[in-house]
Symmetry: C2
Subunit: 388 residues, 2 copies
Amino acid sequence: MDNFTLNIPTKIFFGRNQIKVLGRQIEKYGATRVLICYGSKRIKREGLFQTITDKLTDRGLFYTELGGIEPNPRITSVREGVRICREENIDFILAVGGGSVIDCAKAIAGSVNYEGDPWDFFLRKAAINKAIPIGTVLTLAATGSESNGNAVVSNIETQQKLAVYSPILWPKFSVLDPEYTYSVPPFHTAAGIADIMSHIFEQYFSPTPDTFTQDRLAEALLKTCLKYAPIVMEKPNDYTARAEILWAGNLALNTLLSLGREGDWANHSIEHEVSALFDISHGAGLAILFPNWMKYVMDDNNTDKFYNLAVNVFGVAESADKKAAALEGIDRLRTFYNSVGLPARLSETGVEEDSLRKMAEGAVRFGEIGEFKKLKSKDVLAILKMAY
Amino acid sequence: MDNFTLNIPTKIFFGRNQIKVLGRQIEKYGATRVLICYGSKRIKREGLFQTITDKLTDRGLFYTELGGIEPNPRITSVREGVRICREENIDFILAVGGGSVIDCAKAIAGSVNYEGDPWDFFLRKAAINKAIPIGTVLTLAATGSESNGNAVVSNIETQQKLAVYSPILWPKFSVLDPEYTYSVPPFHTAAGIADIMSHIFEQYFSPTPDTFTQDRLAEALLKTCLKYAPIVMEKPNDYTARAEILWAGNLALNTLLSLGREGDWANHSIEHEVSALFDISHGAGLAILFPNWMKYVMDDNNTDKFYNLAVNVFGVAESADKKAAALEGIDRLRTFYNSVGLPARLSETGVEEDSLRKMAEGAVRFGEIGEFKKLKSKDVLAILKMAY
């Protein structure tokens, strides 16, 4: 176990009708002028937007809006948000949606007081050291972005999808009401669960030795996904199932699982390359890639980790042949993803085979990726081919 | 799952040599005059006190000390601390020790600006609404008090041991260096582990339905205790074992496990009555009580919880006879406590049999205790007799 600091500054208000805290929470930061960021019109159709604006108006808070933020949020939306913030003297950003909306809101918040172009942060030309406060209302279980300082944004012109981190980008508060996720369609629900599971895997498959407690916590959250995914696919309005998955998604990426160890974010890097070129769902991309990554990187030195996953999470029987049991676990993961309607191959999703090499090269643009196993361009290409 | 708010304001600095952050962290709160609270002279003998005062002096911070805080900290120590704080214009309290020292420091911090007697808070005659900031350096894995707003203090005159809670009593930061726990003697190490496991049980045995994720997280921490207790008893200087137990102890009572459900703190209430009359170790008292409480409260409606504990944590084979498996789990808990040298009966610890009735009455002075199963005085007496 490595040294670490536990510091979770985001307050989570979890459960039915927790939106009631909204106005008071925004006022805590001395804010009076709010930019509401959102993606699809679902939140208007279903009344959530009205509920939110009523709460703001009740307390005399000004608001304006930036809608239509894309599923893989674009730097152009960030620029537009910055423009509105400056024009309207915005002092608080409320992101209502999933990871894309929240990430876009973070990028806007960090760019308002920066003279250059927001894309500079993603190219590592500048560091975010000032941000206006943000809060979130989560409408999709997937991201974890509601409790961390990460943001991922796409640039269509340059065909890049890049990440930025700053401790000042953590939301001040996040409202997690499971009922707001009832209307997420089946495919997106499944893709969200795959995203959550990927976040857990990316911390579980760590090169750091002696992470017993952290591994067991990770397995606990994976069990939640496996237990409640079939229920939520069957009964989208099941409060308990939506709540358990929403809660697991938050814990999966609020930094708890990452404490005291290095993670391995290679799959996210690879998937970002895929969805930079083809507009496929992030979670679906990860569901395709992960079982293939697992098979590719498993070797005689790291079988134990895959064996533990198989036995502790996927219910594979204990066995002297650890490798066989580990492979059985990976197969069960694949079967699970299939069972919730996620694709098994990149070729099913419109990805073109002759783009794989470009993706592989893009993934390693800053050098080798991965920590559990270092991957070069040729390794990434091999995984992409297995996944095609 | 009930609605909840996740808000963990204490920063945890975990690992070797994290004491390096001390001065800067204290200064963050504008403090210049520090009261160092501690219990035994162990921290002086082993150099930790010197390390700490060097860090304070280096940054020009004034300090004075309150040593000799008792294992069940007394209200007289709180009063003495308050006197020193007022006399020396203390603006920060640093607790160096385990739960007793931290709890005493919290009670002092909350009483400095109160005109009445500190015991008023424990009798619920007054509420703590102002406190000077505190930080902690943990030297024992047990309490969880380094990451919450609870304090338990004893009054020898009135033979009471009572608890107080206030959100403003959360430490600003806590330093958790596993090496500081190397010299904890075997019995206290074991008692600390029993205390941690009791905290987990008291949240696990919840009457709230649908707590799947929370239950699996609790089981993860119990597994850590079971795995590393024998190692740490054998090799007290094993960094990994000390680290895993220290980390589990923190997570067991930093409110994470309690989110979304009611707990059942009956065993703590009962144990407080025992140790109010007889100076037995808190953890040892809990290790005696818990298996008996489990057997007493288990019935046909709640067998599943005990069955899950047996199968998921104690490795009991799955069985159609859930009750038998559950009882086997409780027996394994008892065997585990014996294996680390903890007593099995109150009669072994100097507790007098004719005091049991008084303890039972004291435990319910504010009404029935427990939520998983409500206990009246006669139930508490029955458990105490089983445990004698």
